[in-house]
């Protein structure tokens, strides 16, 4: 009996698993943008658009990285302080020690990778719970940043100053012939590029596959002959690496890094990841969903002042959105069972 078995490509496990939540997230983003656009005329300007994008870079890079750590079922509390630490150190090397800018950029990323490696090894080889391990490295990186700069803040060079070219990676400022300023958000292109690359890594390479697998069932993956320690470590290296990149983005947009800052940044990244449909339990998640989550956060952050609400309201609404997003996820799972 000949029967051609149909394979439904639309049944992609990732799409199915995150489908509903992603849809809700995209809708939420559109609703938010609509809301603010209607509520405030000044919101509907190009400069606002650029502000939203500006705010999205450092959160976006952090979120892409920590997405991998969360998919393994873990968490990385250190990304905020590692962002600041790596940016402080690499910034100091430029401003005070005269290192060439491109080397400083690479060092910033390398510091992130280093912390990620330490986190990964603590968690996989030493068996420390991710919460505890990254809480520890959070505190350590906070201190190291201060120690290195002798508790002084660092200001990255402006676009017109020597070395300031690095800002163009994230934002290009062109003065047109008529004298008006045009801002080109190159950082957005970089962020989307990274998102695409990391999405391919997650879904199409063995590294990403094994990270998803170990997040779904670590023991089964181990028994299948996969080196789970290695891939769990890699997930945290990604997390740290993108914290390093985020540090550069932060320097490009906000210029000044204060030692002792950083804790709290990771919350925005984690919220983005969760709102975007990645489960804290591990095993499932998408970069695309994470980016949607990042922009929900960025729109909230930028839009609230336009309707007269101060920054603390942003935290309030973020919390509500987060709870709602997780609730949708849990509700769907309950329905399935």
């Amino acid at each position: 009996m000949e029967k051609k078995q149909k394979v439904s490509w639309k049944h992609n496990s990732i799409v199915k698993a995150v489908g509903t939540q992603r849809l809700v997230a995209i809708l939420a983003l559109l609703v938010l943008i609509l809301f603010f656009s209607i509520a405030s005329a000044s919101f509907r300007q190009y400069t606002t658009f650029v502000s939203i994008l500006d705010a999205s870079y450092y959160i976006g890079f952090m979120a892409i990285g920590i997405c991998f750590a969360i998919i393994t079922g873990g968490i990385d509390l250190s990304i905020g302080t590692v962002l600041v630490c790596s940016s402080l150190i690499s910034g100091t090397l430029f401003v005070r020690s005269g290192f060439p800018m491109w080397i400083c950029l690479l060092i910033g990323i390398a510091i992130g990778i280093l912390f990620g490696l330490v986190n990964g090894l603590m968690i996989s080889k030493m068996g420390l719970p991710p919460f505890v391990a990254t809480l520890g490295s959070m505190m350590v990186s906070k201190a190291i940043g201060s120690i290195f700069t002798s508790a002084q803040s660092i200001t990255w060079p402006q676009a017109t100053q020597p070395g300031g070219w690095f800002r163009n990676i994230f934002k290009i400022n062109i003065t047109s012939a008529s004298g008006s300023q045009i801002l080109i958000p190159t950082g957005f292109i970089l962020l989307i590029l990274c998102a695409i690359i990391m999405s391919v890594v997650l879904n199409k390479t063995r590294t990403g596959r094994y990270i998803l697998a170990l997040g779904s069932n670590k023991e089964a993956t181990r028994l299948s002959g996969v080196n789970v320690d290695k891939y769990q470590t890699i997930a945290f290296v990604f997390s740290g690496m993108f914290a390093g990149v985020a540090g550069l983005a932060y320097g490009a947009i906000y210029s000044t890094l204060l030692p002792g800052a950083g804790s709290g940044f990771e919350m925005d990244a984690i919220a983005s990841v969760v709102i975007g449909g990645t489960s804290m339990a591990g095993g499932v998640g998408t970069i695309f969903g994470t980016i949607i989550g990042v922009y929900i956060m960025a729109v909230l952050k930028t839009g609230l002042p336009f309707i007269g609400l101060m920054n603390y309201w942003q935290q309030f609404f973020t919390g509500i959105v987060l709870i709602f997003a997780v609730f949708v996820d849990v509700f769907n799972k309950r329905k399935k069972n």
Binding site: Q5, V7, S13, T205, L212, S216
Partner: protein
């Protein structure tokens, strides 16, 4: 010996005189097992007979202390499951080892993905999976998320995975426990296909009727020892049962019931239904009685106890205590009605391991140990704990010692103490002497008898038949969620109990 019309293959696997001990437990004692190509060979025995241990030794999860394993003519010793897998020995576990968030194809080919340069070729994986399924006459969408499949289909994926690894020996551990009847038929079809392909199959199961249908030979183990091998077609259920339980019991079974004539019914359960494991269970429990609950693992005894105790949701049925109907929705309700439950896994469910004996003893009655200020009265707590330590002869330097420091038997006594403080009249003991040394066992038995004499009513769930026969006044037997037998102690025997413990609908 050859059965007519059966193609008898050559021997592919021999396990000879396998010996394995853990601390204090001689798990495998000179066990023999032989498997031929194209044979379905059942491995049977009670809980604790050593079947799982034998398989773990085969696949390299455990190392053997003595004996030889010969596979495909060569002597082998595997040090980890990966090695045995590479050699072609696969196990389909009872609890499937799957990554539920990945697709079927991704699960099957984990670790051996088809690549397109540096990227995974999911399309090819799906195609290869379909080819695999066609070989086995299975219909499953390889792009489906594993977690969305029924257990039966997940199991078929595990089988497909084993075949794709060119397994020559496949071990099935209780494969039909979670399957529907039609799924079982499908599974048997697949097993027959595998047999035709000369794959050797080890079939671990309690289900007598299946043994006759699908297996060629059956090997029985008992208490870590090899008892014998029979030809499935030639033997009867009784033959197998006799081999499973035919041990010499050193202690005398209880000769007659200690329950007084006309003793009142303290607990009555009618038509209890809860989940998959408790199907229409009814029984009575009398004052001063020890009611033994016998059966194999998965029979539903613990689930029945938990339903009575309010730990799991009761779907339907009635509970009467001292003649009055009661509603038990949570353990709190049960405790209020005088029921105490000593769970199977005391470390997980019976004790708070880091806390002191005193704290654990008063855990169910803390409201009686509060000062006027609502703070805990440690002095009173310690006194109560000491009282029971003395009464139960718990070996401990003091009551402020964490219970984690005590031996298994003494830990059990602390749990008993907890329920005595509560004055529970109905006590449910779930595997009370598991993991306890012989000396402590006798003490627990003595304690149970004393409690029964005092007028408490006891349900004792146990998988050890000698224990059930020694302690019970009456015995209830369950099989796969149903009550399949009830005996007074005078008429009970190991064989009778095992017969109904394996009695499926």
């Amino acid at each position: 010996m050859e059965t007519e019309g059966e193609k008898v293959g050559e021997v592919i696997l021999t396990m000879k005189e396998i010996d394995k001990s853990f601390i204090g437990v001689h798990a495998l004692n000179k066990v023999n097992f032989e498997l031929k190509k194209g044979e379905v060979h059942a491995l049977m025995g009670e809980n604790g007979a050593g079947k799982s241990t034998l398989m773990k030794v085969l696949t390299g999860i455990y190392s053997k202390d003595a004996g030889t394993i010969t596979y495909e003519g060569k002597e082998v010793e595997y040090t980890n499951p990966h090695e045995s897998q590479q050699a072609g020995i696969a196990i389909v576990h009872q609890e499937l080892n799957m990554m539920n968030h990945l697709t079927v194809a991704q699960n099957i080919f984990i670790g051996r993905e088809f690549m397109n340069g540096k990227l995974i070729n999911d399309r090819k994986m799906n195609e290869e999976a379909i080819k695999l399924f066609q070989k086995l006459n299975i219909e499953i969408d390889p792009a489906e998320t594993m977690g969305n499949l029924t257990v039966g289909k997940q199991q078929m994926c595990e089988i497909a995975k084993a075949i794709s690894k060119e397994a020559k020996v496949i071990v099935f551990d209780e494969p039909t426990a979670a399957l529907t009847d039609s799924e079982i038929d499908e599974l048997f079809k697949i097993i027959r296909d595998l047999r035709a392909k000369e794959i050797g199959i080890i079939y671990i199961s309690h289900r007598m009727d299946e043994i006759k249908v699908i297996t060629d030979r059956v090997t029985v183990m008992r208490d870590g020892e090899y008892v014998g091998t029979l030809i499935s077609g030639d033997c009867t259920k009784e033959d197998i049962i006799n081999m499973m339980v035919g041990r010499v019991i050193y202690e005398e079974p209880k000769s007659k019931s200690n329950v007084a004539e006309g003793a009142e019914v303290v607990l009555e359960v009618k038509n209890l239904c809860a989940g998959r494991m408790v199907k229409d269970v009814s029984f009575q429990l009398h004052r001063g009685e020890i009611l033994g609950f016998a059966g194999l693992m998965g029979a539903g005894r613990t689930e029945t106890a938990r339903a009575i105790f309010g730990a799991d949701r009761l779907e339907s049925g009635e509970i009467y205590i001292n003649g009055e109907k009661v509603e038990i929705k949570t353990p709190e309700d049960a405790v209020r009605h005088g029921i105490g439950y000593l769970s199977e896994d005391r470390k997980r469910y019976g004790l708070v391991i880091d806390k002191t004996i005193a704290a654990n003893t008063t855990m169910a009655t803390l409201d009686k140990f509060l000062k006027k200020s609502k703070l805990i009265d440690s002095k009173k707590e310690n006194e109560a704990a000491q009282k029971y330590v003395d009464q139960l002869k718990t070996k401990t330097p003091g009551v402020t010692v964490p219970v984690g420091n005590l031996s298994g038997g003494n830990q059990q006594k602390v749990v008993i103490g907890k329920w005595l403080v509560r004055n529970s009249d109905i006590l449910i003991f779930d595997e009370p002497t598991r993991g306890i040394d012989v000396g402590a066992k006798s003490e627990i038995y003595h304690l149970m008898n004393e409690l029964a004499k005092e007028g408490k009513a006891i349900i004792m769930i146990s998988s050890e038949l000698p224990e059930v026969l020694r302690m019970s006044d009456r015995i209830v037997v369950m099989c796969e969620g149903r009550k399949t037998g009830e005996f007074g102690i005078e008429e009970a025997s190991q064989e009778k109990i095992m017969h109904v413990a394996t009695l499926r609908e």
